[in-house]
Subunit: 200 residues, 2 copies
Amino acid sequence: MKLMAVTDDQQSVKALAEKIISIKDVIDYVQIREKSKSVQNIVSLIDSLLRNGVKKEKIIVNDRLDVALCMNIPTVHLPEHGLPVKLVKQRYPHILVGCSVHSVEKAKEAEVNGADYVIYGHCFETNSKKGLPPNGIQPLSQIKKELNIPVYAIGGITLETLPSVKEVGADGVALMSAIFAADDPHSLTKKVSEAIQDEK
Amino acid sequence: MKLMAVTDDQQSVKALAEKIISIKDVIDYVQIREKSKSVQNIVSLIDSLLRNGVKKEKIIVNDRLDVALCMNIPTVHLPEHGLPVKLVKQRYPHILVGCSVHSVEKAKEAEVNGADYVIYGHCFETNSKKGLPPNGIQPLSQIKKELNIPVYAIGGITLETLPSVKEVGADGVALMSAIFAADDPHSLTKKVSEAIQDEK
């Protein structure tokens, strides 16, 4: 299973860069999802990550394909009302594209349109989606049966919920607040990484 | 002098498309600046313009270089905290880049970094910048002396203020609310266009 950290849009460029750099060797990917920051700040953040040894192959830019293109980042994650996957893959076949999906139907549509992976959620109750009932883990099991591309689980993924995500066969997990709101992001991420390795 | 319409982010995709299509033959450019719309809606809007005879050379995409690239629109207008001009011109020299500037210094910097035009403002009091004192028209005269690239004036440009903008030698004017809040955008835009032509 793969491990993706998704930034929480709750900290300064400097603090966020430090946290990402501290976990760079225990994660497979970090998705930069900083909706309230200016594009200039996102460019600065990515620049700082690259200069501090975070491999560009580990970085995923949420929404802004242009930032990815200008900074030679190979992967972009498209939000639900962002650029159409099909348009992006037609124009930039070399760019890897991920999509957020909330149902089996949308997951199939994303694959047909050329997505390289999907993130399904949210699976469990989470502070990032407070008050919204989770979509549950069962559709993920169905998505895994229907799709050939990797499927990540997001939303309330913790050391406690991880076993049930493994059970349904997810290819990876995406964690936001569990990592970025942790007192020690490196220690938490290492534990999750080890829990994933254990049963590989 | 050139005439640029800048969208006001105040109407539906359908209403906005209709207004732009109605003025397409009397404007030189239309800058799509719809900050509160989803990227998906901006793509739909531009698609609708192209299918209804608005030439791609007349369209300028605000902020989203990726939308411009994916839709083969040749020009992008970068906001103050958007992608750095230099980065965009290095990576995409064929893309025309405009910048918003508010001082002589920033205008010079934009030109040095490779900008193809600047928009200076806001010149006069305007509803789009309510409560903010205008930067006035004098710096524009200075910018014209120092820069080789075209300089557009924005902010409170009307049939009444147009003569003073001409006097300082602006290469063009950019109008937002004057056009898009007008009862008859076509008639208003035609009058401005004629006023510009008169003294060409």
